[in-house]
Amino acid sequence: MSDAAHNSLVAHQFDDARQQQEAATVGMWTFLITEIMFFGGLILAYMIYRNQFAESFHAASRVLDVWVGCFNTCVLLVSSLTMALGVRAAQMGDRKKLVLFIIVTMIFGAAFLGVKAYEYSEKFEHHLVPGPTFHFHGVPGHEHAPNAEIFFSLYFAMTGVHALHMIVGLGLMTWLLRKSIKGAFNKDYYNPVEICGLYWHFVDIVWIFLYPLLYLIDRS
């Protein structure tokens, strides 16, 4: 066995760092494909019901605050930028910048979740949470939505599952932060940063789909 090529950063099952990095990257992409299928089930349900209950979906969507959603979209996009800069810093072996960008990314991620929590609490106050207390008033001119409850069921299911992924992402970031403070990453070994970055961007992209699907129906 090629023991000479083995250093402590290459796990025993791999021949060299390159193979390890490629395997990890293929693994993460494969995982992201499973995630696409996971969200795909929800988006399928959304497509069917939106087609079936177009009027209700249009009316119900107007209740959501488009600007709060827009703000959150921007927050996530910026967090993706800082994540990308963090990966870059890791590749350059710049530990200080890496730590900084991970912290900034985490702040933006947390801000997104905070805004989401605010939006959820508003839905509770306005009886827009599906269940026995559900009551849809709508906005002036768009009060008629017999199937609004389905829209909000999907709204909570989709944004809820997305938020769960954000929380997992923050967990990963915490782990990365600890490791990068310890100086675990350098020019030759930054794969975990890259892999977690892929995950973070993916969760971001899911939101890029959810935002128009839920907030931007019929806003003309």
């Binding site: 025993h12 293929v26 795909g40 089930g41 599906p130």
Partner: protein, 564 residues
């Protein structure tokens, strides 16, 4: 690491042996060395033990079903209890036995060895997948102990989301969790096959077992998340009152069926594809021939995996889906039979003019071909729109899918366990008992399930424990067959245990088989090979192997006497 050194010690079996090579079994001792292992071979053994437990639980529930059905009246169970019994049988067998059966045990053990790697790409994730499996299983068992679930293994809405009084949530959580173990296993296989092949091992030199597991992995990775989100939606509906499938809000219960079968039909191919891989290996070895149509078999695995995703609607011909959709799903179901048939023809052609050895694995493999043929062809009956209306939800369907799942997957699984048992444990099983129980399983199986085709065709519905008296004869035959089948499954359990201690020493290659796994020692060392394997020949080079060994006839015939 120095795996070539030999150590002298009292072996685990208590027999003082001369020199024992270090292998993955004696490399380390103690419960901790197993529960924290990252060795794919040890994880395979952990899986083997746990799926056997779930198989026995599922089998016990099958016994209860067959017991109840001996007479047309309700003797043992109330209707509700009977619902819970067949639901538990289905859930245990499908999610906790059949889906992990070959990939998580034989696949886990063999895929890295067959590609000449030291381990799977992600050993820790591999161990994690076993823990996830066990935790999911415990959730489901807890639900069972608390009172069970009565929805059938299909969890159709709105019964499961609104009306059922069983422990749907707990069972659902268990299956959701277990799904991730399947996803992680599939992911590990895909990366390993892509990135960790030994030098010289091109895609078309891979054993067909690896191709089959790769194809099954694609389904695990693409299908499982969909059923997972389906279960999440049911849980949200049942637990939090969201209403995605709730007809009162305009939701569509049939949508759940679509989401469920989008996974659960391809899941059938997760069960059968690795089995087909096992049969390809056994067929070539015991016909002493190069496998016929290697590329056809390899690509038909991928073909099944891909087309298998386009047939789910054939479960819903009478669920109120559009009849045009029904036509398309029916067509694709006929098409998916083509790659399966390609495999059967190629196996048959492999045997043609071969020197067939009726060893235990070969008998299971031959049984597989016969039973899978019946299961597959009756599948075409079910795929026909008109015929399906007659046989839908009857015992004809039950017989059909048992022919594929038990006659196919379980036969292949047992064949594979026997074929690679010497590799996994270093010991031979008793050949006579092996053949006897293979025969018993085949006879018992047919006695159990063939009468169900007739009963079903004559109109006996599935999932009822009370039935018109004219069906009794078929049910008595079936219950009698189940007893034979049960004995047939129990015998291997006993002699395989027995062989761990008393079985003959196997040596690295008792079958004179081709493939990297037979080049290393039995059992293999922790990192599988003491050297970096390099592949410089085509797979299934049996004519070369036999030509080479005929030069040393004397040693050979002795080996043949002993093991074949």
């Amino acid at each position: 690491m120095d795996t070539t050194s030999t150590v002298e010690r009292v072996s685990a079996t208590g027999i003082i042996s001369d020199t024992i090579r270090t292998n993955f079994l004696n490399a380390d001792y103690g419960i901790k060395s197993w529960l924290l292992t990252k060795d794919h071979k040890r994880i395979a053994i952990l899986y083997l033990i746990s799926i056997t437990v779930f198989f026995m639980i599922g089998g016990a529930f099958a016994a209860m079903i067959r017991m109840e059905l001996i007479t047309p009246e309700a003797d043992v169970f109330t209707s509700e209890a009977y619902n819970k019994v067949f639901t538990t049988h289905g859930i245990m067998m499908v999610f906790f036995f059949l889906i992990p059966s070959i990939p998580a045990t034989l696949g886990n053990f063999l895929v890295p060895v067959m590609v000449g790697a030291r381990d799977l790409a992600f050993p820790r994730i591999n161990l994690l997948s076993w823990y996830i499996y066990v935790i999911g299983g415990l959730f489901t068992l807890t639900a069972l102990v608390l009172g069970g679930v009565d929805t059938g293994w299909t969890f159709y809405t709105p019964y499961s989301s609104t009306y059922s009084n069983g422990y749907v949530m707990l069972t659902g959580i268990g299956i959701f969790i277990t799904g991730f173990s399947s996803i992680l296993t599939g992911l590990n296989f895909i990366v390993t096959v892509h990135k960790m092949r030994a030098p010289g091992l091109g895609w078309f030199r891979l054993p067909l077992f690896v191709w089959a597991n790769y194809a099954a992995s694609l389904i695990m990775v693409l299908g499982t998340p969909v059923v997972a989100i389906g279960i999440v939606m049911i849980a949200l509906e049942r637990g939090l009152g969201l209403g995605i499938f709730d007809p009162r809000l305009g939701g569509d219960p049939v949508l759940f069926q679509h989401i469920f079968w989008f996974y659960s039909h391809p899941a059938v191919y997760i069960m059968i594809l690795p089995g087909m891989g096992v049969v390809s290996e056994i067929m070539a070895c015991f016909s002493r021939r190069h496998i016929f149509g290697y590329k056809f078999i390899a690509f038909s695995s991928l073909g099944i995996a891909i087309i298998g995703f386009l047939v789910w609607g054939h479960h819903m011909f009478v669920s109120g889906q559009s009849s045009y959709a029904g036509i398309v799903f029916s067509l694709f179901t006929f098409i998916v039979a083509v790659p399966s048939a390609i495999k059967v023809f190629n196996w048959t052609a492999t045997m043609h003019k071969g020197r067939i050895v009726y060893s235990t694995p070969m008998m299971y493999a031959l049984g597989f071909i016969g039973l899978f043929l019946v299961g597959g062809l009756t599948g075409l009956f079910c795929a026909s729109l008109g015929v399906d209306i007659h046989i839908h939800d009857t015992y004809f369907i039950v017989a059909h899918f048992h022919y594929v799942m038990v006659g196919g997957s379980v036969m292949a699984y047992l064949g594979g366990i026997h074929f690679w048992w010497p590799k996994m444990t270093g010991r031979m099983y008793p050949e006579g008992w092996g053949r006897f129980s293979a025969l018993l399983v085949f006879v018992g199986f047919n006695l159990t399930f063939f009468p169900q085709f007739i009963a079903g065709y004559l109109g006996m519905p599935r999932r009822y424990h009370v039935y018109p008296p004219e069906f009794q004869i078929y049910n008595v035959l079936s219950s009698g067959g189940a007893l034979v089948l049960g004995i047939g499954f129990t015998i291997p359990l006993i002699y395989l245990f027995w062989s761990l201690k008393y079985g003959e020493k196997a040596g690295p290659n008792p079958w004179r088989a081709a493939g990297l796994e037979w080049e290393t020692t039995s059992p293999p060392p922790t990192f599988n090979f003491d050297y970096q394997p390099v592949v410089d020949h085509e797979p299934y080079n049996y004519s070369e192997i036999d030509a080479r060994s005929s030069a040393t006839v004397s040693t050979h015939s002795v080996q043949e006497e002993q093991h074949v």
